[in-house]
Structure formats: structure tokens, C-alpha cells
């Protein structure tokens, strides 16, 4: 493939353009993706209509490819072939191409899969519940912050499942309470670990538990900025002429992130952005290959036909699209638009589902598919909706909400409507960004002044939503600073 051409495609393609792209049949990868209506034959439609939607006592493998931007996934329109394994599963399964995460960094976003409530509600919105540096910081912990919440692993465990989590630690560390409900939960302290470590641990556990019904959470930071491949990069996608200003290390990535946070923007040349995307693609491709090996071993254990697969990511990542780097601070599409693939046992033919949905819908969907007995408190807590009707072809598109409280820098809340309007509201300065995603998918033109009524109404939706879930955004002043979950205990809170 022409590398130069490829780079341009990387820049140009995004999920909405992809739909058009695929429609005219252009693009080798895109053309292989099954599209409903015009690309799906009658046989496939008939197959899907007969596909069962209840999988009592089946296994679930829930995979989080941490920090995988939707636009870098082949099944979502990316032109460079970096995710063949994920794409293949997407082709066989249900590929939700408009999945919006509830948050733009790991701790708040991932806990929503496991609790079915918004980050404001599970309260893992900050790493600390008490901040009293240097020695008296207390990590946020689900059991302490929201003792009433029931986790996905707990529900499944109560229903007789063996539960195992194998992760890269950091944002999904057991210390935050991610281990709640898991028989075994692997996280290597102090690491942004990769699937190079978590997969072998997971397989080891599988060998012991393969004859039981099980729920497995598999996670790795392989694609994340704070991880680099064991043995270093081979720079397989980097332009030959690049002057090597950057080499792709976690340190460089961190420096760029901090530069953006400190100055409000990063200074990067187009060539640097291309470099970082190339590095990212190498990481993605290596991870995909690891996942392929995992699946091969999984297949050999004879578990494939007994398992529902959920492949997703907690958030995306940004490469200077809005002049920042990394993730967490903003709520732009590159940060909250994530892949979501659900493959049912024995499923041979898949479907692209373009309806906009939220990561908060994942837990109700998994529980619905498994047809488990829901404890009453768990059933009550879920805010999302099961997507099973969407698998059956019914419309499931909805307006979605997202949020981020990021370190000492910002508090943002947002809404994205199913008809393509998005408002990001920054609480500390009441500033607003309104985008018409249909016309401006890259979110470059803030329409607050041109569309004051739209901005006003969406602002009301955001405030009404958070108030309805018990978080009146007007009830406090939002002052940037190291703001732990418990304000009153924020002794010595100050800028780093």
C-alpha cells in the first residue's frame, strides 16, 4: 500500500466519513465490512433473524484495549491494516460504530462498564478520595465511595460464574476497587502493563477454569502512551525521512501531555503528529497480533463456541487534533469515540450497527445476553439500556452523556445527541463548545454564538441529566485544583 497515500487517509478518515466511504465501496478494508441493507444479503439477514439472544451459562470474555481511538480500527474505517484480528471478529459479530464512552480516561470510564452507572455516580472521578500530600493521600476505592453499588463481576459470581480479571494495573488497579467481585484479579503494581503480561496470566487461569462457566476481563496498556513494546519499536510505519525529533518513549509522551496541560496547547509539526500516529499504529498492530495468539489458544481450549466476546476500549487518545496530547482533559471525538464489538457464540455473520450508544449500555447488554438472575439492587442501579434489541435490528440510538474531572485542570460535562450535535460544558469557567458533528466531524468550529438556542437547550439537557442522577452541577463552585472526591478533605490541595 502506498505509504504516503495511507498517511493522508489516516488524517482524513473519521467514523462519519467512513460511512460515506464504505457506501461507495472504496477502500480495501472498508469494503470487507458488512454493511446492513445494501451489503448484507438475504441469507445473512435470515441468519441474523434466527440468531438466539439468550445465552444462559455461556462464558464472557470482555477485552479492553486501553486507549484505542475508534478512528484507528479497521472495522471502523481505518485504512492501515493494523487490527486484522479485531476486524475479523467485528465482521462475524455486531460492530457498534458509534459507541461513545462516558469519560476520557481510564479510572472513571472503565468503572462504568462494571457498575452500569455514570462516573459521577460511582464516584471514581479522581484518583484520590483524600488528598493531603505528600504522604496522606488516599486512593479512591469503589467499596468506600459507593458501597451500595454492585459490580458486573459480583452479579456473575452470584450466578455461579468463575470470575477473573487480568489487567495492566494503573487505572484499572485493584486498589481502586476494580477487583470487586473477581475471584482472581491480576494487576502488577506500579506498571502500565501490557497484554504481553496479562494474556499469559489470563490463559493460565483459563486452563484451571475452562470447564466452569466464567467471566474474564482482559486488559492491557499496549496502545497507551505510558507503555512501549518489550524490545522497543521497530518503527514499521514511520516515514523514512522523519528527523527523529521524537522516538516514541513514554517520557516524551508524558512531556507532551504536560506541555498541553500547562500551556493549553502542544507545539507539534505535522511530521511529528504523523510520527506519533505511526508509533500508535505499531503498538496497535502488535497488540492485535497478541490478541490473535490469545484467540488461537482459546480456540484450542475449545471455548470459542461457548463464549460471548466483548471487545472495546475505555477511551481514545489524541494526537494534537485539538492541540493537546494523550487523554483525560478533553471530551472530543478522538477521546470518547471507542470501538465496541459484541460477538455471540457460534455467530458467523455480523452486522454494522451505526446507532449511537454509550459505554454505559455494555453492562445491561451483557447481563441481558447471559439471561442471569439480577439481584434487585443491581437491576435498579443500571442507567444504561440493553442493546439486545439493537442486535435484533431495532433502533437503539440515543443521546449520550460524558464527563471528565481531570487532575487539577478541568471539570467538563458533555452531551452528544443522536442527530449529531455535541455540547461540551466546562464547569470552572462556564465556557461552552457546540459542534455540529454532521458538518464538522473534527469539532473545529464552535457554534455557540451562531446557534445560541441549540447551545442553550443542550446545556439544559446536561444540567438536567446530572441533576437527575443526583449531581446538581449548580450545587457547588468548581474551582480547578487537585480536587479529590471528598472536597472537605482536600487538605493542602494545590497545583503540582
Amino acid at each position: 500500500m502506498n505509504e504516503k497515500q495511507n498517511e493522508q487517509d489516516v488524517k482524513l478518515i473519521n467514523r462519519r466519513e467512513f460511512i460515506k466511504y464504505a457506501a461507495v465501496g472504496a477502500g480495501a478494508v472498508a469494503a470487507t465490512v458488512a454493511m446492513p441493507g445494501f451489503m448484507m444479503g438475504n441469507a445473512e439477514a435470515a441468519y441474523l433473524s434466527k440468531l438466539p439472544m439468550k445465552y444462559k451459562d455461556y462464558n464472557v470474555v470482555f477485552v479492553s484495549f486501553d486507549a484505542l481511538q475508534a478512528a484507528h480500527v479497521g472495522a471502523l474505517g481505518y485504512q492501515r491494516n493494523v487490527t486484522p484480528t479485531i476486524d475479523a471478529m467485528a465482521k462475524k459479530g455486531f460492530n457498534f460504530t458509534n459507541t461513545i464512552s462516558v469519560a476520557s480516561w481510564t479510572v472513571p470510564a472503565s468503572m462504568t462498564w462494571f457498575t452500569g452507572v455514570y462516573p459521577s455516580e460511582h464516584r471514581l472521578t479522581n484518583k484520590f478520595s483524600v488528598f493531603n500530600p505528600p504522604n496522606n493521600n488516599v486512593l479512591s476505592n469503589l467499596k468506600k465511595l459507593s458501597p451500595e453499588l454492585v459490580t458486573l463481576a459480583e452479579v456473575l459470581k452470584q450466578n455461579g460464574y468463575a470470575t477473573g480479571g487480568f489487567t495492566g494495573n494503573a487505572g484499572v488497579s485493584g486498589g481502586f476497587g476494580y477487583s470487586q467481585g473477581f475471584d482472581e484479579y491480576f494487576f502488577e503494581k506500579g506498571k502500565f502493563g501490557s497484554m504481553g503480561v496479562s494474556i499469559p496470566k489470563g490463559l493460565e487461569w483459563l486452563r484451571k477454569n475452562k470447564d466452569k462457566k466464567f467471566f474474564m476481563f482482559l486488559h492491557g496498556y499496549d496502545m497507551h502512551g505510558q507503555n512501549e513494546p518489550e524490545g522497543g519499536f521497530d518503527y514499521r510505519f514511520v516515514e523514512k525521512g522523519y528527523d527523529k525529533k521524537y522516538t516514541g518513549t513514554p517520557k516524551e509522551q508524558e512531556a507532551l501531555r504536560e506541555e498541553g496541560l500547562a500551556n493549553g496547547k502542544t507545539e507539534l509539526r505535522d511530521a511529528d503528529v504523523q510520527f506519533w500516529r505511526a508509533i500508535y499504529d505499531e503498538k496497535i498492530q502488535r497488540t492485535d497480533a497478541r490478541f490473535k495468539k490469545f484467540l488461537e489458544e482459546y480456540e484450542q481450549m475449545g471455548l470459542m463456541d461457548k463464549t460471548i466476546f466483548v471487545l472495546t476500549s475505555d477511551h481514545g487518545t489524541e494526537f494534537h487534533e485539538h492541540r493537546r496530547f494523550d487523554h483525560g482533559f478533553s471530551l472530543y471525538d478522538e477521546l470518547i469515540h471507542v470501538p465496541l464489538i459484541i460477538k455471540l457464540p457460534k455467530q458467523k455473520t455480523g452486522k454494522v450497527i451505526k446507532d449511537q450508544i454509550s459505554s454505559i449500555d455494555v453492562m445491561p447488554t451483557v447481563l441481558d445476553l447471559l439471561d442471569v438472575k439480577m439481584p434487585e439492587n443491581a437491576a435498579k442501579q443500571l442507567r444504561g439500556a440493553s442493546l439486545v434489541s439493537g442486535l435484533k435490528g431495532k433502533p437503539v440510538a440515543k443521546d449520550v452523556f460524558f464527563e471528565t474531572d481531570y487532575r487539577q485542570y478541568t471539570y467538563k460535562r458533555g452531551i452528544q445527541t443522536k442527530d449529531g450535535w455535541k455540547l461540551i460544558y466546562t464547569l470552572e469557567d462556564k465556557s461552552r463548545e457546540l459542534y455540529n458533528l454532521k458538518k464538522d466531524p473534527h469539532e473545529t468550529k464552535n457554534l455557540v454564538d451562531q446557534e445560541p438556542r441549540k447551545a442553550y437547550e443542550l446545556e439544559q439537557r446536561i444540567f438536567a441529566h446530572f441533576k437527575a442522577i443526583g449531581h446538581d452541577l449548580n450545587a457547588k463552585q468548581w474551582i480547578p485544583g487537585l480536587n479529590p472526591v471528598y472536597d472537605s478533605q482536600a487538605k493542602g490541595a494545590q497545583k503540582k
Binding site: P364, L382, R383, K398, A464, A475
Partner: protein, 554 residues
């Protein structure tokens, strides 16, 4: 048909109920997934007129039971309107109380908390701002200088307005330039504007200060003297002349009324004259004449709407910005949080006179006006609004009640306003005895040291139920020190930290019954402090470093 339309108006409330319901049963997949049902989109073709009257006491209107025939037009209008019998202002001073209405926020939340205000002090959304989002042409005509004048004390000039009272108005008309009582004339220009713009969808805000001191000074003499006791000579003419450039020496000026305390007239720090029933009757007569003249303007407004076919598609709201003290509680004008100063008239005429003639006894507040308008129009209310729609009350929905607890901010203290400019300004208008001139300067210096430039003005807070009013003095010792009445009487006043009044048996609040009702105090104090803390959490930045301009009070 009319009933059907009224029922449609429920939908915003039903909407929020549905959202709440969806939250309770999220697995149903409704609510968050579904679009909110469309509200009645009355904003497409309904005009809104808000008439804000300074210092209007409801108990001086016929329709609220006054014996003098001050308000034939409003009485008639009430037959096709909904009348609220217990409306409480959020503050006792005009710019503060009015901004609270225009934002549906308590004063500290929107930031209009003093007469020396930075130009951009208030950033909260106002009613015209929201209506402009929905395609309204917005216009205001103000006969209240508080809304169109700012004074730069450094240069001694009036500055061009461009601040929050005029923000979001396509047209902002004012009565006339200069300082003086003739600023407070009927805002008749609004009638011409309505005639010219009757085919547009409009919001018009009409403000009038005719009822403000000096009562009715800017209106034709025959209207001003209509209720005067025959042959009366004002008592103050025995003591001094009034140097007011405009108006007449028999006007009930600020200077005179603010030197009345416990029915005595104070000059040179001692009582010099005891008010007679005739003197009192004269003051009230001028006040009533101002209401009568204002009522006449309301008549013209209604006439204009009728002749231009606008009564079928216009909401007309008439309200008091706040009330007025006429000596019941020792003082005049609107110095403190007495019932007379905070009780307001409120009349809501819906298009075609729907629900006409209804009277609502439940307690409501001025901050409820804006949510009511938006609710009726089908415009989503702003999340920052602190009032509640009155439509459920108007429609008599089961369970609809008003505000069990009304909250009032006495901010700024009047002495804070005096300290900024007004003390010297006023004391140069009246020919006071020499013995008073030097102490005025000293008093001014003391006030300025008590209220340093840019410091947040101190205030008092109050809570009111249908039976009780409790006033909590936040800094009683400071209030005693700076008190205007302490100053003119030459003897220090004493304030209790807590004042509790039974407003049913003691409507003039003469007897503090806090000591006798500890349980009531406990409950009300807890409520009041809870509100106070919540408001403080949301309070607007006061912008200490900003250049400030004075809102004059001619």
C-alpha cells in the same frame, strides 16, 4: 378548546416527571434513550410584556382591598388575570430585587448586590437573553433611572449604559437625561413601540419609578395633588427649603422621608417635629397619587393591546419590584425587610384572559416570574434559575403549592449605598443647618472605612412563611455602628441578632417574639442558614478590582 390548550401546557412538567421515572427504571430503556416530548411551543407566537413597578404596595390597590380608588384599571385587568396575594421580593432595593427577577436568581448568585456595580458584574442569563434565542425582538422602556443610569463619581459624569439591565435588548428606551425627579415619569414611549412592532413577536420590559420617592413628583400637578388634604402646608417648610432643581418644595423627597423616625422629624440630631395625622395623610396621599397615575398608564397599556389585537397572544405580567414603608415600622422608603417593603403585587394575565379572576393565596416570590413565563411559552428553563414556575398553581394542579419558605436578602445595607456617593449627593440638595454639615462628612468617612472599596457589602437575611418572618442580622454590631437612624437621632440603635415576627397577628412586626418561640427559631434558622450556605456556594464573583459606577437614586 381553551381547556385543552391549558392541559397541553402541562407538558414541561410531565417531561421532567418522565425523565425522573426513567431514572427509576433504567432497564426500560426509556428516558435517556428517548427524546423529550415536545412541549407546547407557545414561544412561536406569544408576546411577553413585563411591567415592573417600583415601591408598589399591594395593599394600596383596590383589587387587594384598598379603600381609596387608586387602581380602577388594574382592578379591571385583574378580572381577566390571575392575582397573587402573597408575593415576596427577594430584596428591598430596586436594582437588587429587579435583577433577581430578571435572572430568577437570588441576588448574591447573580452578583447584583450593590449600587456601586462593575459594568459586567452580572453574567447570569436574563429573561430577554433567553427569549432572544427563541426569536423574540426585545425592547425595554424604563422610567426607573436605576436601570438606565450609571454615574462615574471620578469624572462626575453619567456614563453610557451597556451593562446587564440593557444587555440583550434590541431596543432600550429611557425617559430622559439628567438627574432629577422628572426621570421618574410614566414610560409611555413603550406604547408607541408596541404599536410600531405589533406584528413582531416581542418581549417588552416596562419599568416605572413614578411610585418612588419623591412620590409622583414627575407627573402633572393636578394628578399629583389629587388626594392632598385640603389646604395642607408641608411641615418641613418650617425648617428648611429643598434645593431640588426640579419638582416642587412640597414634594415628599427622600431627604424628608429619611429623616422621619418613629413619627418624629429629625434635624441636627434631635427630633424637631412630631408628625400629625394630617402630615401622615399627606405623605400617603402623594404615594397613592403616584399609584393612581401609574394605574392610568396601565389602562393605556391595556387599551393599546386591545386596539392592536394583542390581548389574545400576549402574556402581561405586572409586579412590584418591592414594596414601601410608610412609617408602620418607624421608617419610610424601603430601608429594611419589613412586610411593607417586601410584599409585592403580582398579576399575571395569560393570553385571552385564561384562568381570569383567579386569586392565589400561596406564598410565591419574584424569582418565580421568569420560570413561569418560560414554562408557559414551552421554553426550557435555565438550570441556574432558582424560582419555580407558577403555572401549576395557576392551573390549580393537585399538589401545587407555592414557596413554603421565602428568602430575602437585605443587601446592600442602605448605609453601604450612602458610603459610595449618595450621602454627599443628597445632603447637598437640601438646605440643612450648619450643625449637620460637618457631621455628615464625618459620618461619610466612617462609612467608607466600614465598607472599604471593593469589599463585599454586608447584608442581612430573612426567611418568611405564611405565619412567621425571621430576620437574621449577620453583623449586628457593625449595623449599629453605621446605622443611618443611629446617626440622625444621635443615639445608637440596638439590633437583635434574630428577630422573629408573627406576621399574622403582628403584620407591622412591632414585637420580636424570638425568645417566646425557640422551636420556631430553631427550625427557621436551620432553613435560613441552609439557604444562605447554598447561595454562598453559588455566589458570583464580586470583582474587587473592577472599575465601579454608581447606580443613582434621584
Amino acid at each position: 378548546m381553551r381547556l385543552r390548550r391549558a392541559a397541553n401546557g402541562l407538558s414541561p412538567i410531565v417531561t421532567s416527571a418522565l425523565i425522573l421515572l426513567a431514572v427509576m427504571c433504567p432497564l426500560a430503556g426509556m428516558g435517556f434513550a428517548a427524546d423529550p416530548p415536545a412541549a407546547a411551543e407557545r414561544y412561536k407566537d406569544t408576546n411577553v410584556i413585563l411591567v415592573s413597578l417600583q415601591c408598589l404596595r399591594p395593599d394600596h390597590l383596590g383589587v387587594y382591598g384598598y379603600k381609596r380608588d387608586t387602581s380602577p384599571n388594574m382592578d379591571r385587568l385583574a378580572k381577566s388575570s390571575v392575582l397573587f396575594d402573597n408575593t415576596i421580593a427577594q430584596a428591598n432595593l430596586t436594582p437588587v430585587a429587579m435583577m433577581s427577577v430578571l435572572t430568577s436568581q437570588y441576588p448574591r448568585v447573580n452578583g447584583m448586590i450593590a449600587f456601586d456595580t462593575a459594568k459586567d458584574a452580572v453574567t447570569s442569563r436574563t429573561l430577554p437573553e433567553i427569549l432572544k434565542y427563541y426569536g423574540y425582538t426585545t425592547a425595554a422602556v424604563s422610567g426607573s433611572p436605576e436601570f438606565f443610569m450609571r454615574y462615574d463619581t471620578e469624572s462626575g459624569t453619567e456614563i453610557k449604559l451597556g451593562d446587564v439591565f440593557s444587555r440583550s435588548f434590541d431596543y432600550f428606551g429611557r425617559t430622559r437625561k439628567g438627574l432629577g425627579s422628572s426621570l421618574r415619569v410614566a414610560p409611555v414611549e413603550s406604547l408607541d413601540w408596541i404599536k410600531r412592532n405589533k406584528d413582531k413577536k416581542f418581549f417588552m420590559w416596562i419599568a416605572s419609578g413614578v411610585i418612588h420617592v419623591p412620590y409622583a413628583a414627575g407627573v402633572p400637578r393636578e394628578d399629583r395633588v389629587v388626594y392632598d388634604p385640603p389646604g395642607y402646608t408641608p411641615f418641613w417648610e418650617k425648617f428648611h427649603s429643598i434645593k431640588a432643581e426640579e419638582g416642587a418644595s412640597d414634594d415628599t423627597t427622600y431627604d424628608v422621608l429619611m429623616r422621619l423616625y418613629k413619627d418624629e422629624y429629625y434635624l441636627g440630631f434631635k427630633p424637631v417635629y412630631k408628625l400629625t395625622p394630617t402630615d401622615y395623610s399627606y405623605i400617603v396621599s402623594r404615594y397613592d397619587a403616584a399609584i393612581r397615575y401609574t394605574d392610568n398608564f396601565i389602562g393605556q397599556l391595556v387599551d393599546t393591546l386591545e386596539k392592536n389585537g394583542l390581548t389574545k397572544n400576549t402574556i402581561l405580567i405586572i409586579h412590584s419590584i418591592h414594596g414601601e414603608d410608610l412609617g408602620e415600622r418607624d421608617t419610610y422608603v424601603h430601608y429594611d425587610l419589613s412586610e411593607s417593603a417586601v410584599k409585592s403585587a403580582l398579576l399575571v394575565r395569560l393570553p385571552d384572559g385564561q384562568q381570569g379572576g383567579k386569586r392565589i393565596a400561596d406564598q410565591v416570590q419574584g424569582i418565580d416570574i421568569m420560570p413561569t413565563v418560560l414554562d408557559y411559552l414551552g421554553v426550557p428553563r435555565d438550570h441556574s434559575q432558582q424560582g419555580s414556575s407558577l403555572l401549576p398553581l395557576i392551573k390549580g394542579e393537585p399538589g401545587a403549592t407555592g414557596t413554603e419558605y421565602a428568602y430575602i436578602d437585605r443587601i446592600p445595607w442602605w448605609e453601604h449605598t450612602l458610603s459610595r456617593w449618595y450621602l454627599e449627593f443628597k445632603n447637598s440638595q437640601t438646605n440643612y443647618p450648619e450643625s449637620e454639615k460637618k457631621p455628615v462628612k464625618e459620618y461619610g468617612a466612617m462609612l467608607r472605612s466600614a465598607f472599604p472599596a471593593g469589599s463585599y457589602p454586608p447584608g442581612d437575611i430573612a426567611i418568611r412563611t405564611k405565619q412567621w418572618k425571621m430576620i437574621l442580622r449577620k453583623e449586628p454590631r457593625l449595623l449599629e455602628k453605621v446605622s443611618w437612624y443611629g446617626y440622625i437621632t444621635g443615639s445608637a440603635l440596638q439590633y437583635n441578632d434574630i428577630e422573629l415576627y408573627d406576621i399574622v397577628t403582628d403584620p407591622h412586626e412591632r414585637r420580636n417574639v424570638a425568645a417566646q418561640n425557640p422551636k420556631v427559631v430553631e427550625t427557621l434558622r436551620a432553613k435560613l442558614m441552609e439557604w444562605d450556605a447554598a447561595v454562598d456556594k453559588k455566589k458570583a464573583s464580586y470583582g474587587a478590582g473592577e472599575k465601579r459606577y454608581i447606580i443613582p437614586y434621584p
